[in-house]
């Protein structure tokens, strides 16, 4: 296989590539935060006029809450009653599975195509 000689990239185009990468990184990290997608599957199950007993705390546990600075049950209410909802959104799960599997399939197939070029050139096609 003939040795591949890549084109030289101009300084200006190097900067264009750098800007593209930075923009992509910021978008990937910032967009889910902006959309409020992070950790949304939980809610506070409110109890009116909570007591330690109503919150399911034993005397030993209450002692530790107090040492940690929670003077009464009302102060600890939001922490104790903030519960996860683990119902599964099957459509979202299927979409996620397709995206991840599709990503890895493309990744390994396209990589293999590039890898064959690398090996051909490195070993002179022998």
């Amino acid at each position: 296989m003939a040795k591949y000689t890549p084109p030289e990239q101009s300084k200006a185009m190097q900067w264009v590539d750098i800007i593209f990468v930075v923009a992509a990184i910021f978008f990937a990290l910032w967009f889910p935060l902006w959309m409020g997608w992070a950790g949304v599957s939980r809610a506070i199950e409110k109890i009116d006029n909570p007591t330690w007993e109503a919150l399911g705390q034993t005397p030993a546990q209450v002692e530790q809450w107090v040492k940690l600075g929670f003077a009464d049950a009302a102060a600890a209410h939001d922490i104790i009653q903030n519960k996860f909802d683990y119902h599964i959104d099957w459509m979202q799960l299927i979409i996620l599975a397709i995206v991840i599997i599709g990503y890895f399939v493309f990744l390994f197939q396209a990589s293999d195509k590039e890898y064959r070029e690398v090996i051909d050139e490195k070993f002179n096609g022998k």
């Binding site: 950790g39 546990q61 064959r116 490195k122």
Partner: protein, 467 residues
């Protein structure tokens, strides 16, 4: 003038990284990055599944990382080049995979660095009182990130010597706390039976245990970072497996002790809520000396981790530039300090920006997402490595036992962890994978034209089987 500048630039790029590190530095790099996981983050597993779930995943995820360390030690002791898993992917799977792996590394470590800076600011804020305004908070974050970047800019040996000392102190603090609470005498200080009861051990049942895998990763995330310094280690075939496996043993012991102390001292709802469980454990002993010790140790653990993360992320980014996967401008080595200084400086504002807009849980999740993509790659990579170069065809510094069992275990645990992340952060995970798809298309159909094909394979190995 332009020619002179170009010549000067080429000369700078020919300067290589220094081989100055030993096994202790490898241990310090791995454990230094990870140990902060005992000080914060792992406890969110209790939030997702209860205290017992946090213990179950401590050991199950320990199994995942033992597989990672075994696989990594074999491949890295054979492919000893800067970039770690990136160099492995380049030689075993192909350039596009390598490009993705380097991005995983940069994301995982930069977001871990961000998490550490946020943890330090939160810890100081908790003790500083009313006068500690939002500007002070941001000032602490900025100072941590900038000072550590300057340290990394200055030199790898000094960076990892500092890491060795502060990691050792932070680890010793856990041991001292453990013996101070008289673990042999339940009821004296520790009250495990009263904190963890049959009613609250698994409040969400087994689905909570699965969900807890998400944060369980944080017990050990980053131990694979030992390989990033492969090109700067004096004897990689010996030092890398030794340092990595010693690090893993250290962390398994540390994680178990941490769970035992914290689970015995605080209700599971608080354990899943707090940002600094070991510091709170120190407070609950009633000893001001222990509380102060854990305050200092929390800060040191976070500093060691952030320090190692800057080291690793910069080397992965540097490798991308050196191989033309990204503009070559990033591949410059400092003529005096012999560090990848442009990569260090480039990643600095990105870390700062996200430290200001994300909270601790979000930053940790970003890091975990990239980590788990990387472990999925590693499970497939080792299978391909053994297929392309079976045992006996090339010299390996270390050969891991029971192949392919660790790879299969790793792959299965990765799938479970994807599902765990989906339970709460599904849309975020999808968005992140879409980002990697976009970057892969950009690389494969555009950027790859600038890559010298044959130069991507630098190991003195025979042609791989099947090619």
């Amino acid at each position: 003038m332009a020619k002179a500048a170009q010549a000067s630039s080429s000369a700078v790029q020919r300067v290589s990284l220094l081989r100055v590190l030993g096994p202790a530095h490898v241990w310090a790099l791995g454990v230094g990055i990870v140990l902060v996981g005992e000080y914060t983050g792992w406890n969110f597993a209790a939030d997702k599944g209860g205290t017992l779930a946090a213990l179950i995943i401590c050991w199950v995820i320990g199994l995942l990382y033992t597989s990672v360390a075994m696989i990594d030690s074999e491949v890295t002791s054979t492919v000893a080049a800067a970039g770690g898993q990136y160099a492995q992917a380049k030689h075993i799977v192909g350039p596009l995979m390598a490009f993705n792996v380097a991005l995983y590394l940069v994301f995982a470590y930069t977001m871990l660095e961000v998490s550490n800076a946020i943890l330090i600011a939160d810890t100081i804020k908790a003790y500083a009182g009313e006068g500690f305004t939002d500007w002070h908070y941001r000032g602490v974050i900025a100072t941590v990130i900038v000072v550590l970047a300057a340290l990394n800019y200055r030199g790898v040996l000094m960076t990892l010597n500092v890491n060795f000392v502060i990691t050792a102190i932070a680890y010793l603090a856990i041991i001292v706390l453990f013996f101070s609470v008289q673990p042999w005498s339940q009821g004296a200080v520790l009250k495990l039976g009263e904190m963890v009861t049959p009613e609250n051990a698994l409040p969400y049942g087994w689905i909570g245990v699965i969900a807890a895998f998400h944060w369980g990763i944080w017990y050990y995330l980053g131990i694979e970072g030992t390989t990033q310094a492969a090109e700067e280690v004096r004897s990689p075939a010996r030092s890398l497996p030794y340092g990595t496996m010693a690090g893993m043993i250290t962390l398994l012991i540390g994680a178990s002790l941490t769970w035992y102390i914290c689970a015995s001292l605080m209700p599971w709802q608080y354990l899943g809520f707090t940002y600094y469980p070991l510091l709170d454990a120190g407070k609950l002993t009633g000893s001001a000396a222990l509380e102060t010790m854990m305050f200092v140790a929390t800060i040191l653990a976070a500093l060691a981790s952030a320090n190692g993360c800057i080291n690793d992320a910069a080397r992965a980014w540097f490798s991308l530039g050196r191989d033309r996967y990204l503009p070559q401008w990033f591949s410059a080595v400092h003529p005096r300090y012999r560090t990848p200084y442009r990569s260090i400086l480039f990643l600095l504002p990105i870390a700062l920006a996200f430290a200001f807009i994300a909270n601790l849980g979000q930053a940790i999740t970003f890091s975990i997402l990239s980590g788990i993509l990387q472990y999925t790659f590693m499970s497939i990579n080792i299978i391909k490595f053994r297929q392309k170069w079976p045992l006996g065809t090339i010299r390996r510094g270390y050969t891991h036992p029971f192949h392919p069992l660790p790879a299969i275990v790793l792959f299965i645990l990765c799938v479970v962890t994807y599902f765990a992340i989906f339970l709460g952060y599904g849309a975020q995970l999808t968005a992140m994978v879409v980002f990697y798809i976009v970057m892969s298309l950009w690389f494969h159909f555009y950027r790859y034209r600038y890559v010298r094909r044959g130069d991507q394979f630098t190991m003195p190995w025979p042609k791989p089987n099947g090619y």
